[in-house]
Symmetry: C2
Subunit: 416 residues, 2 copies
Amino acid sequence: MPNHHRATLRREANTMTGSEPDREHASPPGAEPASCVRARPEQAVAWVEANTASLPAESVALADAGGRTLASAWAAPSDLPRLAAAADDGYALSAAATVGASDYNPLPFRLAPARAAPLGPGEAAPVHSGEPLPAGADAVVAVEDASVRGELLEVGAAVAVGANTIGAGEETARGQPLLESGRRLRAQDLALLALAGVERVDVVRRPRLRLLLAGAGPASPDALMVRGLLQRDGAELEACEAVTDAEALENRLREPGADLILVCGGSGDGTNDFGAAALARSGRMQFGGIAMNPGETTRLGQVDATPVMLLPGAPLACLYAYEWFAGRALRRLAGGSGEWPYGTRRALLSRKVASTLGRLEFCRVRLDGDKAEPLAVTDGRLLSSAVRADGFVPIAPSSEGHPEQTEVTVWLHTIT
Amino acid sequence: MPNHHRATLRREANTMTGSEPDREHASPPGAEPASCVRARPEQAVAWVEANTASLPAESVALADAGGRTLASAWAAPSDLPRLAAAADDGYALSAAATVGASDYNPLPFRLAPARAAPLGPGEAAPVHSGEPLPAGADAVVAVEDASVRGELLEVGAAVAVGANTIGAGEETARGQPLLESGRRLRAQDLALLALAGVERVDVVRRPRLRLLLAGAGPASPDALMVRGLLQRDGAELEACEAVTDAEALENRLREPGADLILVCGGSGDGTNDFGAAALARSGRMQFGGIAMNPGETTRLGQVDATPVMLLPGAPLACLYAYEWFAGRALRRLAGGSGEWPYGTRRALLSRKVASTLGRLEFCRVRLDGDKAEPLAVTDGRLLSSAVRADGFVPIAPSSEGHPEQTEVTVWLHTIT
């Protein structure tokens, strides 16, 4: 009964011995396909990283580029600002003409219209932040240091040459690298690009995720969960649909158009779990199970060059399998590093945590000040444990757990 | 020249004395409207918090609820699961009939169709994770512990009563509070609600932001920056448009439909800065400037009950004024706490940082390991300083800065 040689990992964690999973489950030569061996999680992660790289660039309008990943480094094509400009709203004038001005001795200037140039002697013109100084001006007096009296501007403060201005090239000099390739564009980056006159920018295309549900539908818990995680990881949903048999699944695995295919459910071995067979027939199964809990029945492979991940149907296992493999793949395809986007906290375990040697486990914890209260480790059944938890502590396969009061890094469960 | 009594704050930071800003700028009684006094930043924050509260609820489909804020606490209306259910994909059967089964002594069961009930003696039926156990079954054997042989299922492991199942009410008992009001819904929360059969959920309506650009257009640096920050703070853009004179601005301030109105630029006092006058005529100016740098010309007020914020036109000042006031208001309107969504790092200042007593200042820093290199504090001109920075350190009005090697909290500049 060769099918049963690999049956032990599902059993209660505390019956496990400490040996390495791939040795523990070694089978007589020839009796088992390689895909049935539980892989070490770090091997599977290395494979995911080797098989996912930044997608090609696409051009988007600057207003749509927030949060997107820059496809190539950006340097200003000319000095920024190109000419000396106002650093703030105010009045452009000649600094020399303000000598002696003070709150108690305001000096009068003739108020020229905005954008009047060149300024004559004794003239001042209103400027907005970012506008170039008109010829004849070498400083800006702040709006607060001046009062309009009819056609006159009374200036109540002496200003130095260059006051309230930004010199040519002071933001960034022509050709100097400012935004690196792979940078996720922030609000201030967009503003700087707009200052430089940029209207469109090349960013990494968003990965298209095909989400196939074996034995469930688009309103299933797994489908809602994965859809909730997609946006965080910079991906688009290419399709979200139920597949009811192996043939339909094979057809959808073979169809082009997706950058990553996830199949929720159908990752086991039974007759109602047709994912593995469909993947093996359509492409290649690389890992037929991972030494992790929850998430052990995760299978990874490819159809042509497209990574395919069969995630367990049990929602908690699906969550951690997504986090460990799918989220990483999507963030890498989107031009990022694959690292978790979660925030972290350092905290002290309020209770001892036992974990199974040879398996990566996820201890869900609730935070209370600097204490982390473990909710569940080896029990990988209850989705509500991840709902009640503030975050989780991954426990490496090489660890049997942690004593009470161990300081650990908690990864916060957040959606964004 | 009463207009000039309040003119000093714009000048170089190092000429400042240490006195409180609102005393320093006190004017002869009656000579100055209260709106011209620079308010303490914490007073302005308290006012923002007092004038922004969670918006009303709206019902959305579960698939659209990720990241949204729950409008009221949720408890399961019945036990979850209502009946004992499969915890994983496998075969439902009677545990008693598996006694003696092992890898080397598999026991045969007749394979019933899925959802066949009740099971007869010696029968097993395939179940998916989450499905109720059929009558006659009290355990699930994992797909990995069984092999299909034609119409027979060979079970290679004895299972205990309840194995691989979730008992009635084990996820959450009927009526027990599980998701608190104000919770931002995470992926696993959506999955749990789906498990409970929920299809729509009441969440706090997204705030609608009207963005008005005085002296600039919708493609201006400020407009792009604010649009880049909106999504992070859970808001929708109601409008983004240029206003060219005080009358047009007044009309837009008075028009209903927005939960918060931001005016970028036009926050000073000059003739080309009409924001303050328009706000004073349409509603009420509460704070006519804030003792902060950059961002000093920020003005806050209301038209009817709608908060209106005049942000400086200079992009760097606009950024920090948004962060300090507008982002906080939007997150509170969206049902959150107003706290910064930024991640933080503890780091040691690689250089001394000087700051002006009496003003809140923002020291932009670049991180290098556990070192924070200050890029700029009192120079509030260059937007590129926030582009080059990884984050910022707010320096309280009561502080003159920090010596080298001080451990500080750096708030990371991120868009999400």
